[in-house]
Symmetry: C2
Subunit: 299 residues, 2 copies
């Protein structure tokens, strides 16, 4: 089944205790697409500037990703710089240069409007809504968001929330958006506002899925080496939607497996800078780590 | 199989966002014993002052706990006061009055020296060693510790570590004791110093077991109401050792089940103040939540 993602395609300058990487491929849509591409055909919609290296688009295309929806505009590509704390649990944004992303107004090509699985990455909720209005009867729509929109555009965000099937959000954002510190209560409150499923991402503590009639807890893979957590949340989303689309099943068991596939791809993402942990990754390695998650949790 | 615990028996003044409780039953040995008593016969060794309410000892005895090792001395019972942050993730100690616990020098009664499962709760490492020398060929010894001993008596602590089968420790202490921030690496480092098994307790993020040839991740139960997390770590230890002793099996699968039983009892502990969450608890309710943990994690 077809998977569509709309979000940022960026160049990142990242510094972590393991080193630094400058001008590397980043952005939610990049991470999501590559993660999902291990499972299904992906259509990426975004925008880049005329400084965007052709090799990055070639890499995405080499993963079978349809990059025809990534517009190339005159100007600079969205550029983000950040530095992580020693523990990797905190990061400070050094700069955010929106560049051509500032005027991003996604218009879906006719052949992308029939996408069945849609991921609205972390962009302005008004853009998320505009995408939703262009997609014809999607089977499953998931969204992400962030503190900036929770504080700045709550009414618009609420309208998107009311129309999606799943909200994928980190723990701090879940608390902020719901006004509840307790995550179980936060999920109840958020589900009442629209999404049947709420997945709360907790970094090295794994994630919690709250869905109709089920709660599922998945650990993070206990990696001994974490070089760069950038993009792990979007890789999780990509693995999750990709696996769900591959199964074509939206039952509770399929959701659980998809959460694990999301966790698997996110774990590979963290082992290297940028998307390097996914460049030479095979579906066999993914399935093998999926089995390792089972060993890690079964009793 | 017999379970022995040596540690504090205390009166606590606790304040959490859910309310406050003053002069309530606390202390590691109390929490541990009650938790373990759902699975096996427990012998508690500690000391109380002449202000210690008889009803608390009667409660412990009503759970089948052998309280003959809890000495009553002239003076005040160990008293601790603490207040939790709104998120429950941080707590500030308001006071620690050691009272009769300051001169605690546990001497095991002859009938307690043959205990098969031993838990050295968080006390001075020299006392932990003294206990170990009094127990005749235990099958399984586990220990806890805290930042105070890690900083103050590292050489003594190291000697205990070298002689135990399992270290149960929280994440921050694991980091401090190992000098490694990454928990997987912290566990490797700690296992090299003695204990074949290291269990890292992570509060609302669950716990990780690192043992011979296995890593196991258990979630925390996603409670909607947490009133008082005091003693949850000791209830975990009590459920863990109690369940292990009940099975009488030290294989990897038994360890995993014991970790879940520990998590189950800890979850009930957090729902009420002091030991109130365990007062009316039945083994049926424990087994039922054990099954709920399976539903929460299986895929």
């Amino acid at each position: 089944m077809s998977v569509l993602v709309v979000g940022s395609v960026a160049l990142d300058d990242v510094e972590t205790p393991a080193g630094r990487a400058d001008g590397v491929l980043g952005g939610a849509a990049s991470y999501f697409s590559v993660a999902a591409s291990f499972f299904e055909k992906v259509r990426a919609v975004g925008v880049v500037g005329d400084d965007f290296p052709a090799e990055h688009l070639e890499f995405l295309a080499s993963r079978g990703i349809d990059v025809s929806g990534i517009a190339a505009e005159r100007g600079k590509t969205f550029r983000w710089g950040g530095v992580y704390s020693e523990s990797l649990n905190e990061r400070e944004t050094r700069f955010t240069d929106l560049g051509v992303f500032e005027a991003f107004a996604p218009k879906l090509a006719p052949e992308h409007r029939c996408s069945e699985f849609v991921f609205l990455a972390n962009i302005h909720p008004t853009l998320q809504l505009q995408i939703l209005e262009q997609v014809e009867s999607p089977r499953f729509v998931a969204m992400d968001t962030m503190n900036f929109w929770i504080e700045g555009t709550p009414a618009e965000l609420e309208r998107v929330l009311a129309r999606v099937d799943a909200l994928l959000i980190n723990d701090e954002e879940a608390r902020q958006l719901s006004g509840e510190h307790n995550l179980a209560r936060a999920a109840v409150a958020l589900r009442a506002r629209g999404p049947a499923s709420v997945i709360i991402k907790r970094g090295e503590s794994g994630c919690l899925l709250f869905g109709p009639d089920q709660v599922f807890s998945a650990p993070a893979y206990p990696l001994e080496v974490v070089r760069d957590p950038t993009g792990a949340g979007d890789c999780f989303a990509g693995g999750f939607l990709g696996a769900l689309a591959r199964e074509g099943d939206l039952g509770p068991e399929a959701f659980r497996r998809a959460v694990i596939y999301g966790s698997v791809v996110a774990s590979f993402c963290c082992e290297r800078f940028s998307l390097d942990g996914l460049r030479d990754l095979s579906i066999q390695a993914i399935e093998s780590r999926f089995d390792a998650f089972r060993s890690l949790t079964r009793f």
